[in-house]
Amino acid sequence: MSVERHSLEAPPELVARRRRGKVFQYLCLSATLVGVVTLVVLLADVLIDGVAWLTPTFFTEFPSRIPARAGIKSALYGTVWLMGLCALISFPLGVAAAVWLEEYAKKGWLQTVIQTNIANLAGVPSIVYGILGLAVFVRWMVPFTGGRSVISGALTISLLVLPILIIASQEAIRAVPGSIREASYGLGATKWQTVRHHVLPNAMPGILTGTILALSRAIGETAPLIMIGALTFIAFVPDGPRDQFTVLSIQIYNWASRPQPEFQHLAAAAIIVLLMLLLSMNALAIWLRNRHHREW
């Protein structure tokens, strides 16, 4: 055996293999950083374009043909209306569906069908929900919804976020250990008593986190709302659920699709507002998750 074999140096073949590994590792790191850099560039681009247009009047004025006088008042009110109604509709429905799937449904074809169906619905493009909303809520249910109204939009967006909300709530319910249920049954509680007093309170932080994340998806939705006709010139604030409306994302689209640079700046300013709302919702969700996180 040669002397080199006994030295501590790795054989050249292994050195080459390790070098190849290092190169690969840096390639993978760069791939990851592309995402990070894109996010930074995107935020910087929007801030540079829009921050100067974030004046107090931007929040208090209605949209206008004159860029300097245009604002997002109607869009902000519309967004709050839409989110509020959407939360009122989707939260009880989503949690109830999750409770049924996790606690009540017997293992069998019915549960499998509904579960598979929810997974499939989560993958349906949002614009298809817009088509559904247009045909069912805007046209068919017009005596109830008033046509192209906030409630039509909220119902459409609720159907869109329901699968996300149900899946998140199911995970939260599943994380509640079985021993808690058994203790409750052991004391003679019925199924609903067990669910209401033990399972749901313990799962609630997780459910709320999922709800906020689902709503943060809803707040940026644009295409389905264009379908149901939220893209009109709205220079008023909705008074009730059957009123016409516009939302931030639609206002952004409206401004971004115009060629004049002033409107591009307005779009950027509105994007800043939208992203701030979105990030605060995400921050709230993360805070909630960390605060109430419990190890069983």
């Binding site: 292994l14 293999r17 390790r18 190849r20 290092k22 690969f24 590792q25 390639l27 993978c28 790191l29 791939a31 995402g35 996010l39 560039v41 995107l42 681009d45 109830a96 569906a97 049924w100 009540y104 449904a105 069908v113 509904i114 499939n120 619905l121 349906v124 949002s126 614009i127 298809v128 929900y129 817009g130 088509i131 559904l132 045909a135 329901l162 699968p163 149900i166 003679g188 199924k191 609903w192 008593q193 209401r196 998806r217 707040i219 940026g220 939705e221 644009t222 295409a223 264009i226 379908m227 893209l231 994302s249 689209y253 971004a256 699709s257 950027a268 994007i271 979105l278 990030l279 995400n282």
Partner: protein, 318 residues
């Protein structure tokens, strides 16, 4: 159980009046059944949604196909529904969607897979805790914002590099859609890699494999079903992507493979019609349902296939 305990439990139920004895058991059973029924009804809303989507799409499409033959729709190469002479050949729109998805996949698959491998095999824990939320935020940025970004940043950036690049073009749209679906591939693939048991990695290390060899020849093949499923789901998402494409790729139905030109996707056409004042019942109005049905069928098919693939080819590590 003592009667007293039963009373306590019944009181605890809230809502109804306290039940004083076992005689209340029947009403309690009835209440339980009613609640079970209500909860089931909430679950059934999802079934109603699916039925509603299919019924609406098929119903209005049937009206459309009474005026335009299915063959003309699926094989025609000219799409001019909004001016005379009207032609309803969907291929230009389908081509637009496919073109954007190919560009998006070209961006998202290598970058997403690279990110997944880095996060699962190489990243130190602290860096991972920073990178994961960043990718989550990237996935959460609304589509319309990506559209703005493509239009005002990506296209001007590319114009000096790609001669002949139009203001509205498939390339920028494809790139931002790729960035949008990248986190989906990264997180689903990473999940699949994390599910590969530690023992497999340790076995490979014991045989003298380097980290690179473990990542590419052990972990990636073992997680392949999850990785491929993530590609399929991401491409399906790219086909259904709307606002970024509407803003960046324009509204020109164009049967082309030239990524520098303006095109129109299936989704963008649906938006274009909704932007106008199209009367209910007109053929233009009905055409969005036919296009929507095609879009729904394609994306649903890919999603079902993706999940079937995940199940069928998953290695079970007990």
């Amino acid at each position: 159980m003592s009667e007293r305990a039963i009373i306590e439990v019944a009181r605890g139920a809230g809502g109804g009046a306290p039940v004083a004895s076992l005689r209340g058991a029947r009403s309690r059973t009835a209440k339980e059944a009613a609640i079970g029924g209500l909860l089931f009804a909430a679950g059934a809303v999802s079934i109603l949604t699916t039925v509603g989507i299919i019924a609406v799409l098929v119903w209005e499409s049937l009206a459309f196909f009474r005026r335009v033959s299915v063959a003309e729709f699926l094989t025609g190469t000219v799409w001019t529904p909004l001016f005379v002479p009207q032609h309803f050949g969907v291929l230009p729109l389908l081509m637009g969607s496919v073109l954007v998805s190919i560009i998006a996949a070209g961006i998202a698959i290598p970058l997403g897979l690279g990110s997944a491998i880095y996060l699962s095999e190489f990243a130190p824990e602290r860096l991972r805790r920073f990178l994961k939320p960043v990718l989550e935020i990237l996935a959460g940025v609304p589509s319309v914002v990506y559209g703005y970004f493509a239009l005002t940043f990506v296209t001007p950036l590319l114009q000096p590099l790609v001669p002949g690049l139009q203001l509205f073009n498939a390339l920028s749209a494809g790139i931002v859609v790729g960035i949008m679906v990248l986190p989906l591939i990264a997180s689903l693939s990473e999940d699949a890699m994390n599910a590969v048991p530690r023992g497999l990695r340790q076995g490979a290390y014991a045989l003298g494999a380097t980290k690179f060899e473990v990542a590419t020849r052990v972990v990636t093949p073992a997680a392949l079903s999850g990785i491929v499923a993530s590609f399929i789901l991401a491409i399906s998402r790219a086909i259904g992507e709307t606002m970024a494409v509407v803003l960046a790729a324009g509204m020109t139905p164009n049967l082309t493979l030239d990524v520098r030109e303006s095109i129109q996707t299936l989704t963008a056409y649906i938006v274009q019609v909704s932007l106008g004042d199209t009367p209910f019942g007109s053929i233009e109005y009905q055409s969005i349902f036919a296009v929507g049905l095609l879009l729904f069928a394609v994306t649903l098919g890919m999603n079902v296939f993706g999940r079937w693939f995940l199940k069928r080819y998953r290695e079970e590590y007990a």
